[in-house]
Amino acid sequence: MKNRLKVLRAEYNFTQADLANKLGVSRQTVNAIEKGKFDPSLPLAFKMSKLFQLSIEEIFQNEELE
């Protein structure tokens, strides 16, 4: 699954550690999601959606559906 997390993080001027702290996850998890190595759970995706005030679809794009 593709995502815009890295871009959004840069727009908000967050480091990976800042974002990890705000989401209540490890920095390793933020890094793995940004690199597309790991897809977050629905609750974590909703947390990101709330934090960046975007819909989940605006953050994550399912390549299989495109």
Binding site: T15, A17, D18, A20, N21, G24, V25, S26, R27, Q28, T29, N31, A32, K37, F38, P40, S41, L44
Partner: protein, 135 residues
């Protein structure tokens, strides 16, 4: 590198789990060697030592559940993968080892401690591979 609140909480839980594990293994040593070297085969004391070991083991399991529940999505996945591999290889390897004993293909009796060591090593290697994979 900045430590997140989440990481501080996980470190606290890991430390608590390490303490419970140390207590459990110490009580295991006490129940194993106590009857021979400390209380001269006294049955009541041996039963108490085994009960203490079981209770501390229960505490360790509950602390492990709390530790895993506090992990984030990725860490849970890494743990689940490692546990699945350790359990799978433990069952398959353990039964193969037992078969070797039953069919007398090995001269010694199959020892449960070998299986525990094998599963522990498999679990640790799987955890390291998982951590490296998502680095």
């Amino acid at each position: 590198m900045k430590t997140t609140n989440w990481e501080i909480q996980v470190k606290k839980n890991t430390k608590k789990l390490a303490i419970w594990t140390a207590l459990w293994t110490s009580s295991m040593a006490l129940a194993t060697f106590g009857p021979k070297f400390i209380w001269d085969e006294n049955t009541i004391l041996t039963i108490l030592a085994v009960l203490l070991n079981a209770l501390l083991g229960l505490g360790m399991i509950l602390m492990n559940i709390r530790h895993i529940n506090a992990l984030d999505d990725l860490q849970k996945k890494i743990q689940l993968d490692a546990m699945g591999i350790a359990l799978g290889t433990g069952v398959v390897g353990g039964l193969s080892y037992s078969l070797l004993d039953i069919t007398n293909l090995i001269s010694n009796d199959a020892e449960i401690s070998f299986l525990v060591i094998f599963m522990s090593v498999t679990y640790m290697i799987s955890l390291l591979i998982g951590q490296k994979r998502y680095k």
